[in-house]
Symmetry: C2
Subunit: 141 residues, 2 copies
């Protein structure tokens, strides 16, 4: 059970972006340098973030990215969802509530994994980008 780099990087990059998101767009190159994340990889990640309207791009020289919503309105859920970082505890599909592992009844632990998924997702739904930026600057002082 581990978080992937993609999800981790997405959050790191967005916190960085939120911090430097004053007047000018922030270039991926800057984020790459500050956070130590490969530029090519960042481009993949931001492409997804843009498609989900979490950021906006500004093309051309002096371009970059800006947040597309207020930091308060961007939750971890949104970020993870955008980059396909899903919480998956179990194989069985959500829709077919009845059958797990091909059997006609739910597996013995089905409810447990559901509960765990909810527990984790709750955490992600409560945390906003703003929380993270604040938490970060507070602790630096």
């Amino acid at each position: 059970m581990k978080l992937t780099s993609k999800g981790r990087y997405a959050v790191m990059a967005l916190v960085d972006l939120a911090k430097f998101n004053n007047i000018n767009p922030v270039s991926l190159r800057d984020i790459s340098l500050r956070q130590g994340i490969s530029l090519d990889y960042l481009e993949q990640i931001f492409s997804k973030l843009r498609k989900k309207e979490i950021v906006q791009s500004v093309r051309g020289n002096q371009g970059g990215y800006v947040l597309n919503k207020k930091a308060k309105e961007i939750k971890l859920t949104n970020i993870f969802d955008a980059v396909d970082e899903k919480v998956k505890t179990v194989q069985c599909k959500k829709e077919s509530k009845k059958s797990c592992n091909g059997k006609s009844t739910k597996c013995l632990t089905h409810n447990l994994w559901d509960e765990l998924e909810n527990h984790i997702n709750d955490f992600f739904e409560k945390k906003s980008l703003e929380d993270l930026v604040q938490d970060n600057t507070e602790r630096r002082i």
Copy 2:
């Protein structure tokens, strides 16, 4: 962020074992059939569970496994720990609290991932095997 089969199977198998753990040891063959888990794979898993003293083995004909503690005293944490299902949110080592990704300061999101890890581990520490068995039988009635 997903749970591995090893962890999932370990819990499923132990719930099964706890349910049928009356007088006689339960054979892996039975668990394999009931839960649809490969026998060879189960053997690997139970080998680890035995080394961590969660189960006891009874060799020979009519042998099998029995719980080594009361179901109430076996927490999810213990099970996951035994089969190396760890919650890992971040690369940086716990010990070197100071440096993430080779830099001298913590990464922007370090505290977040710590918090997440704790959140998940709390869940695992609270759930016992007994809870799972009860939850399961209750819902069947």
